[in-house]
Amino acid sequence: MDTNVDNIKSQMRKGVLEYCILSTLRRNDAYASALIGELKEAQMIVVEGTLYPLLTRLKNQGMLSYRWEESPQGPPRKYYSLTEIGRASLAEMDAAWNEVVASVEFIKNR
């Protein structure tokens, strides 16, 4: 029973993870590790590894870009930011999210 629910929970999270990443970058640019920190704080991800393939995919789709910045601890790190396409997509996803939430609430409250 529990694993079934866990599965569904995990599926739900996976569905919105990209949206969350874009959303986090809405106001500020950030390093990968900072993104991880925020998402963990929001209990959105359990394992960090899930982030990296998504970041790469979003970058390949043109929604994110990065620049290299020096870091005190060693080699330069990637500093992610939203592109114009990213911002546009984000706006659309905001609308989509609102729709989905409305639908679910509607069904839930019947």
Partner: protein, 494 residues
């Protein structure tokens, strides 16, 4: 006490214990194989994160240990937890089918495909194949079947497998071949490999083999095979070339031209000669080419000479067989019509035999084979204009019996279709090749040239004499039948 290795994660160096290294290596390899070339960045990013986490744990100044890596893996997530965004928890296992792997092939991908199905490295499959071929061909033979048959059988098996096992062309087929779940990632990987040339591939297949033992054995086999092929091919070409030249010098006529002196059912013998020569030479050239390629492992040029040589040879062989079958059709009706003619021989104590050369041909070299009771003669003559003639004397056999009176029995055997000769056998007068005058028997040759070709008539003479009669050959050599030792002249000058 543990062994320590030095590694670099995205440019940052760490000292790491062996067991921790193994765990980390396994983790990264799994990730790398999951993400194809287009997403290689992901693994690099993960490596960077691992470095960060290790530094946080103070591993800049301490050796990385198993517990660190273990922790980090649980933080980052096991590969199965780092799912694709389409969120399938495990793609279904694809049933494995046998295909030929033509992207990793040497000849036709048979061994590669079989290897992929049985999860054995293709190189080992090839080695097994060859070793089986070699070991089954021990001198005693296996079950009484010997070398050529087993090699032939294996070759045939290979060709059969080549034909019946389909080629893995589409990506889904390639996935089925290896039993991997079909995935968008694989498409990129597969097409990136591209087709390779046989020579370099054989060499490289060896070096890519899992395990240096396989690759070394494979390279040795390649090289040895290459040497054998080169030597054989070269020897074949040289020997036939030298043989023809030697024949020409010794007899004054090229061996190929001999065909011109035989009456054939074919106007021009050119096709026969060319296709015959090529049918012999091309395999030698092919072996030479293949051998050199194997020894020095270089890529063949784009027009694939190996294939060209093989196809040309096939065509030549077919032409040769068809032309020779057609050309020699008159000789299949072995209609040995033996016509016997008799001539009387005087009863004398001594009989003399001479075999003069035909007019104008006195300078020719005579080839003689004389034994106790047989005499075979022939010679070759080139006139000033380099027209060649063959003179063949009827074979003389001496039979001794005391019952009948001495006589000559001349037999004409005809083993070709009647259409080839103008005169019927009975029309050939005995006197045209044998004359008896007193105690002198003269034997004359039948002369064949390009105009007057050999048409299947063979004459032989039996001389029946009593035991006591002595038969002496006077011309071209002195020889007493039954007394002198056998004489044979090779192709040499008198």
């Amino acid at each position: 006490m543990k062994e320590v290795l030095n590694i670099s994660l995205q440019g940052i160096s760490f000292a790491i214990e062996k067991d921790a290294y193994d765990l980390l290596d396994k983790y990264l390899t799994e990730l790398r194989s999951h993400y194809g070339d287009s997403e290689a960045e992901v693994v690099n990013d993960i490596e960077e994160r691992i470095a960060e986490l290790l530094i946080e744990r103070g591993c800049k100044n301490r050796v990385v240990q198993y517990c660190h890596i273990d922790q980090i893996i649980s933080i980052l997530g096991k590969p199965s937890q780092i799912d694709d965004s389409n969120g399938q928890s495990g793609t279904p296992k694809v049933k494995k089918k046998i295909y030929r792997d033509t992207q990793n092939c040497v000849v036709a991908g048979v061994c590669s495909g079989l290897g992929a199905y049985f999860n054995i490295d293709a190189v080992w499959m090839r080695i097994i194949f060859i070793l089986v071929a070699v070991f089954l061909t021990s001198p005693k033979g296996l079950y009484g079947i010997h070398l050529m048959e087993w090699t032939g059988f294996l070759l045939l098996l290979y060709v059969i497998l080549w034909i019946i096992i389909p080629q893995a062309k589409t990506v889904s087929q390639r996935c089925e071949m290896k039993g991997e779940p079909q995935n968008v990632n694989h498409i990129h990987k597969k097409f990136a490999q591209g087709a390779r040339d046989a020579g370099t591939q054989m060499w490289e297949m060896g070096s890519k083999a899992t395990g240096t033992a396989a690759s070394i054995i494979w390279k040795v086999i390649c090289f040895t095979a290459g040497v054998i092929l080169t030597v054989t091919g070269f020897a074949g070409i040289v020997s036939i070339g030298a043989g023809m030249v030697a024949f020409d010098i010794a007899t004054g006529i090229s061996p190929l031209s001999i065909i011109d002196f035989v009456q054939l059912d074919m106007e021009s013998t050119l096709w026969l000669k060319i296709s015959g020569t090529l049918a012999y030479l091309l395999p030698c050239i092919g072996m030479l080419y293949a051998g050199i390629k194997l020894c020095f492992s270089f890529k063949g040029p784009k027009w694939r000479p190996g294939l060209v040589i093989f196809i040309t040879w096939l065509i030549c062989a077919i032409i040769f067989i068809i032309s020779s079958v057609k050309a020699f059709t008159p000789y299949y009706d072995f209609n040995e019509s033996n016509k016997k003619q008799l001539a009387v021989v005087p009863a004398k104590d001594t009989l003399y035999v001479i075999c003069p050369k035909a007019e104008g041909m006195e300078k020719a070299k005579m080839n003689i084979e004389a034994t106790r009771s047989n005499l075979n003669l022939h010679y070759l003559f080139n006139d000033r204009l380099m027209n060649t003639s063959f003179a063949i004397y009827p074979q003389l056999k001496i039979r001794r019996n005391n019952e009948k009176s001495p006589h000559i029995e001349a037999t004409l055997a005809q083993f070709s279709k009647p259409t080839l000769y103008d005169d019927a056998p009975d029309n050939t007068p005995l006197s045209s090749y044998v004359e008896v005058r007193d105690s002198l028997i003269t034997i004359k040759p039948a002369i064949y040239s390009r105009e007057n070709k050999f048409s299947g008539k063979i004459q032989s003479i039996r001389l029946y004499v009593p035991d006591s009669t002595v038969v002496i050959l006077q011309e071209p050599i002195d020889f007493t039948f039954g007394k002198s030792r056998s004489y044979r002249s090779g192709i040499r000058r008198h």
